[in-house]
């Protein structure tokens, strides 16, 4: 399975600032996804990162707040913009090769907004 490197692993940020999280995969993958995991809760899909086009966002998530880039088949970024304490979460990158092939997750970025 693919190996995912996610950076930074954790950060403490001031409210009103933005943080860009990077996801690097060691092989070309078809699908890349970004998830949020709020403290003590399950994972919620933010968006599907599409190579060469705009990301597809889930209900409740918007591009202005969570802009995503995917310039190629091995790399994606998620920016958390104009942060507030409610954005304190773990953000996870995931990759998949389609139905039945499993989905691999990075170790996550633990964001605390103060």
């Amino acid at each position: 399975s693919a190996v995912i490197s996610q950076k930074p692993s954790r950060d403490i940020c001031q409210r009103g600032t933005s943080l860009t999280i990077q996801c690097q995969v060691d092989s070309q993958v078809t699908m890349m996804f970004w998830y949020r995991q709020q403290p003590g809760q399950s994972l919620t899909l933010i968006a599907t990162a599409n190579q060469g086009s705009e990301a597809t966002y889930e209900s409740g998530f918007v591009i202005d707040k969570f802009p995503i880039s995917r310039p190629n088949l091995t790399f994606s970024t998620l920016t958390v913009s104009n942060m507030s304490p409610e954005d304190s979460s773990i953000y996870l990158c995931s990759v998949g090769e389609g139905l039945g092939y499993g989905y691999t997750f990075g170790s996550g970025t633990r964001l605390t907004v103060v």
């Binding site: 996804f33 998830y35 403290p39 399950s42 994972l43 899909l45 996870l92 995931s94 139905l99 499993g102």
Partner: protein, 111 residues
């Protein structure tokens, strides 16, 4: 440690016993299911998967059962060990290729 699983339902089992973790999934059109294990400070790790054309699949010490009639999934862990302590999530996949996660269960193994 991290706060993963603080507010999730908890299953406590004695070391050596079998564990059964249950999950109700939401979409009758889902055709692929995965169980993940998440330890504190880590991302979810793949445990076992099952396609909708099967009702049982076995791995090493783990078995997944799928009941499509009632949209229910279970993970059985044989001879539970302290290293099995973690939060367990089921996830479902529809033909949109998105993976949607269930609420999760925290497994605590005590000696």
């Amino acid at each position: 440690g991290e706060s993963v699983g603080l507010h999730l339902p908890t299953l406590s089992v004695q070391e050596g016993d079998n564990s059964i973790i249950n999950c109700a999934y939401s979409n009758s059109a889902s055709d692929y299911f995965i169980w993940y294990k998440q330890e504190s400070g880590k991302g979810p790790q793949f445990i076992i998967d099952i396609r909708s054309n099967m009702d049982k699949r076995q791995g090493q010490r783990v078995t997944v059962l799928l009941n499509k009639t009632v949209k229910h999934l279970s993970l059985q862990i044989a001879a539970t060990q302290p290293g099995d302590s973690a939060v367990y999530f089921c996830a479902e996949n529809t033909n949109t290729d998105k993976l949607i996660f269930g609420t999760g269960t925290r497994l605590q193994v005590f000696p």
